[in-house]
Amino acid sequence: MTANGWLQILFYCLLLLLSVRPLGAYLHRLFTGERVMLMPALGGLERVFYRLSGVDARSEQTWQQYALAMLLFNLLGFALLYLLLRTQAWLPLNPQQLPNLSADLAFNTAMSFTTNTNWQSYSGEQALSYLSQMAGLTVQNFLSAATGIALAFALIRGFARKSTQQLGNAWVDVTRLTLYLLLPACLLFACLLIWQGVPQNFSAYTQASTLEAAQQLIAQGPIASQEAIKMLGTNGGGFLNANSAHPFENPTPLSNLLQMLSIFVIGAALTDVFGRAVNNRWQGHAILGAMLVLFIAGVAITYWAESAAPNALSGFDGVQGPGNLEGKETRFGIAASALFAVITTAASCGAVNAMHDSFTALGGAIPLFNIQLGEVIIGGVGAGFYGMMLYALIAIFMAGLMVGRTPEYIGKKIEVREVKLATLAVLAAPLAILLFTAIACVLPAGLTGLNNAGPHGFTEILYAYASAAGNNGSAFAGLSANSVFYNSTLGIAMLIGRFAIIVPMLAIAGSLAAKKQIPVSAGTLPTDGGLFVALLVAVVLVFGGLTFLPSLVLGPLAEHFAMLAGTQF
């Protein structure tokens, strides 16, 4: 570890914190439906969208209607993307004449992008046409991100409102978020990326003749436009196989800094929207505080491990270097690679600028554990916020048990129904992760895909299902997941990890909105201060630890201790 490395990490945190209030204020205007700066320019388009699709922008929906709208919207998005991937060979904008995707790969990919997972069983530059990338993947990148934020809005309304059935209008939320937030931000961000060197063209791949007179075929494409929403929408599915490690996706230290910021800004600002909506900004800051405590701890461990823990270079004489550089890029080095890995897994982004599979055992364990916790450390856009709120409900419930009072949060009584639903939502993904991992470990179809032997191989499988069920999308990418077995089981894990959380979460929002507001009393646990932050951090860690410690012992910890003993696999 170097002082300069820590300076980069602290600078990143500073920029993130500076963005929270201004972006929170803007998002809050979208949340309440107030006028924003861009409305004169884009308001006409917004109204056209409503008129053509028959939406009454003033009407609102109950939680069931909101859920139905979102589910149907995502189902149709899945169907359209699946169709596109199955027919890309016959469609335009396919200069490399890439074939149609197989049924299982198209299922996996369509599921992956509609659930904001962006797991990639394919290699971008070798499998997908430009049309599939832009009209298929880019669109779902926008819509799955807008869906996530809209769902967070619905939950915040559940807390902020009283004695009502109404949670807002899903179509209005998605439209406004796309038109006034994601699209303009991406337009600007994409231009910045091109300036830094990210290509944006429709040319066929370029044949170059290198200095040593070898042939090099250079993959091209409309990369920048997809890169921008890939980061800002915490999607993470790269245009090219090497993702944000590829010099065409992430050419410079500056583009890397912008990408890391873009993963977290919206998720962090949503905590401020929450604070504003419930008229106590510190309610939001407390949630953000708990997230940041977990985040900094993860960065510290990963950065230390990548600098100093045993790695493949350990024990060789005559080598000098800053640490574990296998699978890392020179321009980012150890610090910015470790930081990126923690950010992308704390959020449900899944873009990578270094290969997690080649991280040290402990350095790779933190990204894995981040995902297993449910990506609630800032988290995916919207999804991280509502994920953390589920933990908050459980934390409040446990605090209530300790003193024997009915727990309350933001003036709402937290009762049996809410706690049951929160528990259901929090347990769904772990169940999918552990069950599917266990199945893959005993089936030949699961074991044939492994790139590494020993405990590291087990970690590859565990990471894959955690990434799918957590809707993350990053990978211990040595695992060859493009098989019928992995494509289908991972696809199902993504489905469970997204919708088995969304539906109970919306039910909680509905039930909270219907409740009365009760006044703060002497027996109310303050949820805007340090005590609650500590409680929330403890609940997240205890829950994650109890659920996943055995699996982490079998994988990363076993590998770490084996390496200390000099064992290789």
């Binding site: 980069q8 063209n201 003749s209 409309p222 270079l313 060789f316 005559g318 980012f332 590494n452 040595g478």
Partner: protein, 187 residues
């Protein structure tokens, strides 16, 4: 049901047009207008032929050139249509064997020096265009004797081609191997 199906279907189609066609086309237009060179992939042309991209590494094995990092892209390395990494874990025996072999080669080619770690390890993209200034310096004796050049001249060239950290502290100092070798050929 129609109250849900119609908005779901039409919103999807409208957003596909907006985000899947209008948006990428607008970005393409802006990119080609403002930063045409980058938008086309930062290609380098010499005598009417494209010899590569400023941003992508290439295979270098001749003694007269500076060498980049080991690459796992494609079967030969540095395949710019098949980016990727080794994805071998820290406890992998296979990875240790590769490192051992690379170490032996590098020590034989550049005797008597400590070997920089990045020359022993494959990058994440397999297309890493850069090495650290130390890794370039490490190769000076070999390149100098292959070209009959003065070591000091090569050090100057490396210094000229070293890009520092952004704002003095973001990222790592680096030397673009292809550009360094082009400058070397132009001497």
């Amino acid at each position: 049901m129609n109250t849900y199906l119609r908005p779901a279907l039409l919103m999807l189609l409208l957003f596909t047009l907006l985000c899947g066609a209008a948006y990428p086309l607008a970005v393409t237009g802006l990119g080609q207008l403002l930063f045409a060179h980058q938008a086309q992939g930062s290609l380098i042309e010499r005598q009417g032929r494209i010899i590569g991209s400023e941003l992508l590494g290439q295979n270098f094995s001749a003694a007269k050139y500076f060498h980049g990092r080991p690459s796992a892209a494609g079967t030969e390395g540095y395949d710019a249509s098949a980016s990727g990494a080794s994805n071998l874990g820290p406890s992998s025996a296979k990875l240790r064997q590769s490192i051992e072999a690379r170490l032996a080669t590098l020590k034989a080619e550049n005797p008597g020096q400590l070997v920089p770690a990045e020359l022993l390890t494959a990058s994440a993209s397999g297309l890493d265009p850069d090495i650290s200034p130390q890794a370039a310096q490490f190769q000076i004796p070999r390149v100098a004797s292959a070209r009959g050049l003065d070591a000091q001249r090569l050090q100057q060239l490396i210094d000229q081609h070293t890009q520092g950290r952004w704002l003095g502290f973001i990222g790592e100092p680096r030397v673009n191997v292809l550009q360094l070798n082009l400058a070397l050929d132009a001497l």
